[in-house]
Symmetry: C2
Subunit: 309 residues, 2 copies
């Protein structure tokens, strides 16, 4: 699936080797991926596709953060190391000026046009860097945090903090498991699609929601479908998963069976309906008479629907 | 699976209804589950099983936290509301004195003896309450946090904090997706089991590790198996999942295929070997000649191995 299909070797054992990381950081063969929150620096490869701007140490040496913040080692690919850095908007603009064709674009929908391996680099980087930005202070004692292990670990600067006495999950990157489910009628003829208020006009998608403490994937799917559209799901089967960089969800794609009248939760959803297979095919192909559509092929919702139709 | 098999209705829409929550909190029909970090208050139901001590509002009114901290609404079961509270050790001891047969025990291995529906209540409670305790300060600005929505949401007390401008994941309970994989030889005759240094002597289990930003379940499984035992996995199939309350992992159980010589990562693992099906059956039944064994039936590793043997 898109956003999780990397050929990079993460080399997690080397993250703690400060000398090795330092050496690779300053190596001019090393590649840097640049971003600012929801913006990325890209070069168009053709009319439809984009690649991330490829810069080396010499080009961005003077902009690099001194304290390991806003900075992460992504891994190695064909013996080339790849790092990502979060830079100020003005700095990005300055770098872009030096590269013909380069431009800064908004990551959504921009990242959907990245080549698949580049999309994975982007999702890895945004997941790590947004976690770092959200963890400037220790959530247990309120003191400043320190980033370690090439961006992958966070410790509290207060040595008396209880976090130093044991591993706490807040020290490691956060990934939010989320179920997304195609709900299919027992005769396989219809599926439930719903609209969140923040969706673009006309877009409908599968039912989704965060996994809570104490739940399995399957139990979460049953709860979310019941809460959002009032249907009791009979069985749930996992199909595949995808990381979704908004900023760090692990989307767990499922198929489930249910039938009956919908009772849509109007606090969360704007609309929810049963759609026939023919309608969904039209929505997937962009030829629905009412102008309705489903998420693009890069989204796991599209993959789930494709498996069903 | 154990720890995720609840019959409780979480009633997530009612969490924001302060009046309803207040009313149910003080209702003497409401049940409270009591704990202190890694300790729980239980009553033996028979020689082998435990249930959580069942107390009502009257019994613990004076101990309840005033600021919604250390406190969570778990849901409704047969029209009875269930809350969980984290109390000081001395308070737990005081309450236990009032109840014949009740006692405070360490949750591990104690919680493994709970009835399955009670184990789910425990895992839901510990996941929520340990998250709350780890989030006393805003990780973005360092100011104190405020708990809302019956324990499920956290906001920053500093109204100028950027977290008030948009949803941030730190505001919601953290669940860490973790893969656990049985690695099987292509002829189905052998599986890989490994020992972490913290395991009880003689215990071997499947390969496990946290999902990182940018990974799918399947990609994480490939990476973890390669990192820990040096084998390249050919295919990965998801089997089932379970929440594991240590304190809040979503264990995603997979089967994967690989073969060859192991190269065990000695920094993370104490030992790792191929075991035959016969050996694994002996380890599951507690009759292995060398005294080796696998995790108990409550652990997903056991379920994965059972599916294979």
């Amino acid at each position: 699936n898109f956003f999780s299909n990397s050929t990079i070797q993460r080399q997690s054992k080397l993250r703690t080797d400060e000398n090795w990381i330092q050496e690779k950081m300053t190596d001019n063969k090393t590649r840097y991926v640049l971003m600012n929150r929801n913006e990325i620096v890209v070069i168009p490869t053709n009319k439809r596709h984009l690649t991330l701007l490829n810069v080396n140490y010499e080009m961005i040496e003077k902009y690099l953060p001194a304290n390991n913040r806003n900075f992460v080692f992504l891994g190695e690919q064909d013996k080339q190391c790849i790092f990502a850095v979060h830079l100020e908007k003005l700095v990005l603009a300055e770098i872009v000026k030096l590269h013909q064709e380069a431009r800064v674009i908004h990551a959504f929908p921009g990242a959907l046009k990245l080549r698949q391996d580049e999309a994975s680099l982007y999702s890895h980087a945004v997941g790590m860097l947004s976690w770092q930005r959200s963890q400037r202070f220790c959530s247990v004692c309120g003191n400043a945090t320190v980033i370690k292990d090439a961006g992958y670990k966070l410790t509290c600067s207060n040595h008396k903090c209880s976090t130093h006495k044991g591993a706490v999950s807040a020290s490691y990157p956060r990934v939010d498991p989320t179920i997304i489910s195609a709900v299919i009628s027992p005769d396989q003829s219809r599926t439930v699609l719903a609209r969140q208020p923040r969706f673009p006009p006309g877009m409908f998608s599968c039912i989704a929601g965060f996994v809570e403490p104490g739940e399995s994937v399957e139990a979460c799917c049953v709860r979310e479908v019941e809460e959002e559209v009032g249907l009791r799901v009979h069985d749930v089967s996992y199909l595949s998963s995808q990381f979704w960089p908004m900023p760090a969800s692990l989307m767990l794609g499922c198929l489930a069976t249910a039938d009956g009248e919908l009772s849509v939760d109007s606090a969360e959803l704007e609309d929810g309906r049963w759609f026939t297979r023919e309608e969904v095919v039209d929505m997937m192909c962009g030829r629905h008479a009412g102008g309705l559509f489903v998420p693009p092929v890069q989204a796991i919702a599209h993959q789930l629907l494709q498996t069903w139709v």
